[in-house]
Structure formats: structure tokens, C-alpha cells
């Protein structure tokens, strides 16, 4: 009885499935027949359903009305904002690169741009910290025109040392701060000549008697070198009981961060006191004078200032 029932169920399911397939085939056939026989009528019927949807779609995407246009523009504007933000980020990166390159260019120009004499640009390949002594190793040698005894500069006119030894490809620069390196210096401020001694680590020490007004920020010049400013006094060590005071001089650029230097083409020569005085006065002039254009500068010697002063005098006389 049970077996008969299960057979009947399977058979009935099979019949129903066949029936359904026939049903689908019939519906498909009828639909196709209708489409082939009365295509126009079917098209009209379908149009009544689809046409409004299509019209709405066309209205939304292509209409010139303000609302769909607003929605379309909003999407376009959002896309544009995204594109502009991306562009902005890219240009910020480019600007940073340009700034960095420009700074580097300025530094290189200041190294080579000194008018007084021709110089050789050199990269620093070894400095205190990586080298055992207070020296710099540079990547230019005798092959490039570097000579022993030539002064070495950072920036426009800051002397930091002398070429002590040169090979064909490299040269060793002895810094003026090498321990026990002695040099005659002129301090602008108290306006005195004195001796400076290297202390190592980029520091030079000047010793003067207690009565002399030494101040931090006083410029120190090496008169043995034309345009030879070394730096400024950064610290003063003065004990009231001691007979002398010491000023420690350091260059504007720390030795550890120097990447390029320029080397003079001629070795340093012995300078007489008269020549040294001339160098010092020239350096002082250079330090305190700024090249002001003629139209901007107001001076008693210029014609414009004379005219203005005459005018003011006249007006004063009239008012009185």
C-alpha cells in the first residue's frame, strides 16, 4: 500500500513537471506567434507600459528643465570636485618639489655667485663625525683645479678652512676649527684684531682681555682671506676673577649639515697688515650696505631728495 502510494506520488510529480514544461512551451509559442502575427498591436500595447518609463528616463538624463539639470549638474560637480581635489594634491606635491629644488638652486648659486674670484664647486663626501679628524673630504681634486692651500667657503663668503691635501679626485680640507689651528681674526663690534684658536667640532675660540666689550652676535672676520667672514660669536665665557674672556665663534651653517662647498682657485698668500685692514674695511662695507635701486634710495646727494627738501623748506617758510 505504502509502495503504491510513493509510486503514485512520483508519477504525479513527473506528470506535473511535464505539464508545466508543456505549459511554458505553449505560452512561449503563443507569445512568439502574437509577436509575429500582430507586431504592431503588440508594439502599441507594450508602448503604453514602457513609453512612460522611457520618457521619464529621457527627461531625467536629457531634459533641459531645472530639476533634472540640477541633479545632473550635482553629479557632474561632485565628479569635478573630486578631480580638482586630486589635481590640487598633485600640484601641492609639485610645488613642494619646486620649492626644494629652488632652495637647492639658491644654495648652489650663492656658492658660485661670488663676484670677487672664480671658485670650484665641490660636494662634501666626508665630514667630522665620519672622519677621524676635524676635516672635510670633498669630491674635487687637482684634476678639477683644486690646489693645496686654497681657501674653502660655505655660502657666499664664509671661510671654513683650507685645502691641506689634494689628490686627483678628492681633497682634504682642514677646518679653521681644528684644535690648535691659529688664525688672526678681526671682531666687528669692539673692532679689534686678535688671535683665534680652533677648538674642534666647528667652534673657534677668541680670547680678549676683560675690559673689551665682547657681545654675542659680533661678526668675526678672517682678514687673511678676501671676503673671509667666519661667523659670529655665539657664546661668551667670562669669569670675573680671570684676566681674560673667551668668545666662541660658530658659522651660520652647522658643519654637519654642509653638503656643498666652494674652493678658491688660488692658494692663500701671506697678507700684510695694510692689506688685511683693506679687506676688513671692504668686508664691513659689504656687510652694512645694501644695494638699493636709484629710484628708491633717498639721499642728500640725489637730485630727487634735493627737490623734495627744497619743496618742504618752501612750504615751511610759507606756513610760518
Amino acid at each position: 500500500m505504502k509502495k503504491f502510494s510513493s509510486i503514485t506520488r512520483v508519477n504525479s510529480r513527473r506528470i506535473s513537471q511535464t505539464k508545466k514544461r508543456t505549459q511554458i512551451a505553449l505560452v512561449t509559442a503563443v507569445c512568439l506567434l502574437l509577436l509575429f502575427l500582430v507586431p504592431k498591436l503588440m508594439n502599441v500595447l507594450a508602448s503604453t507600459v514602457i513609453a512612460p518609463v522611457q520618457m521619464t528616463k529621457a527627461w531625467f538624463w536629457e531634459s533641459g528643465n531645472s530639476f533634472p539639470q540640477y541633479l545632473r549638474n550635482r553629479t557632474e560637480l561632485l565628479n569635478e570636485i573630486q578631480a580638482l581635489q586630486k589635481q590640487l594634491a598633485e600640484s601641492a606635491g609639485e610645488r613642494h618639489t619646486i620649492k626644494t629644488l629652488s632652495q637647492e638652486n639658491d644654495a648652489l648659486r650663492s656658492l658660485l655667485g661670488y663676484d670677487g674670484e672664480e671658485r670650484i664647486l665641490a660636494g662634501v663626501i666626508g665630514r667630522p663625525g665620519t672622519l677621524p679628524y676635524d676635516v672635510l673630504m670633498i669630491d674635487q681634486g687637482t684634476h678639477d683645479g683644486v690646489q693645496e692651500g686654497a681657501p674653502v667657503y660655505i655660502g657666499d663668503n664664509t671661510v671654513i678652512g683650507v685645502v691641506r691635501n689634494a689628490t686627483t679626485q678628492t681633497a682634504l680640507v682642514e677646518l679653521v676649527t681644528t684644535p690648535n689651528f691659529e688664525a688672526t681674526v678681526y671682531i666687528i663690534g669692539p673692532n679689534i684684531y686678535t688671535n683665534a684658536v680652533g677648538m674642534g667640532g666647528g667652534q673657534l675660540r677668541v680670547g680678549v682681555p676683560q675690559g673689551i666689550a665682547l657681545e654675542t652676535g659680533d661678526m668675526v672676520v678672517l682678514p687673511s682671506v678676501a671676503s673671509g667672514i667666519y661667523g659670529e660669536i655665539s657664546t661668551i665665557q667670562s669669569a670675573p676673577s680671570g684676566p681674560e674672556q673667551y668668545g666662541f665663534v660658530s658659522p651660520h651653517t652647522p658643519i654637519a649639515s654642509i653638503r656643498f662647498v666652494s674652493v678658491g682657485t688660488r692658494p692663500m698668500q701671506t697678507v700684510s697688515f695694510e692689506a688685511a685692514q683693506e679687506i676688513v674695511s671692504h668686508t664691513k662695507e659689504e656687510l652694512f650696505s645694501v644695494p638699493v635701486p636709484e629710484g628708491v634710495l633717498v639721499d642728500t646727494e640725489t637730485g630727487s631728495s634735493t627737490a623734495s627738501s627744497t619743496a618742504s623748506t618752501t612750504s615751511l617758510q610759507e606756513s610760518s
Binding site: 508545466k20 514544461r21 512568439l32 502574437l34 507586431p39 508602448s47
Partner: protein, 83 residues
């Protein structure tokens, strides 16, 4: 049943307005899931409206009909439907 109605509405929307590359996958998915012959109404409408006067008319109805019958035949043999 509710899900089936919602699914049919979505397929209908894509049939009437949506892009064809969304409509066809949606139709195939619907046929495989429910094997309902109601999709024939949709395909007839699409064929009648868009296929009228073209060189390959009524291809959607034909393909959907054949697809439905095939799914009906294959369905009892596929284990995914028996779970």
C-alpha cells in the same frame, strides 16, 4: 512570496528602464531561482517595444522560453535545488 514579488519588480524595472547589461543577469538569476513563467510577459513587452522592426526580433522571448524549459529539465538533477 514577498521576496519573489520584489525580485520580479526589480527585474521589471531593469527590463523597462535599466541598462541591458543589468537586465539580462537579473533575468537569468530570476529564472534560475524561481523558474517562473511570468518573466515571459516581461520579455514579450521588451521584444514588442524594442524589437519591433529590427532584423533579429523577439530574441528575448525565445531565449527566455528555452531557458525556462531547460531549467525545468535540469532542476531535479542539480543538488543546489534539493537542499
Amino acid at each position: 512570496m514577498k521576496i519573489r514579488i520584489i525580485s520580479f519588480c526589480i527585474v521589471s524595472f531593469f527590463a523597462l528602464a535599466g541598462p541591458v547589461f543589468v537586465f539580462i543577469p537579473a533575468l537569468v538569476l530570476y529564472v534560475l531561482t524561481y523558474t517562473g513563467s511570468e518573466v515571459l510577459i516581461l520579455t514579450v513587452a521588451v521584444d514588442a517595444y524594442f524589437g519591433y522592426g529590427t532584423t533579429h526580433p523577439y530574441v528575448y522571448t525565445l531565449c527566455t522560453g528555452i531557458g525556462l524549459i531547460l531549467v525545468h529539465i535540469v532542476r531535479p538533477r542539480l543538488w543546489v535545488y534539493n537542499t
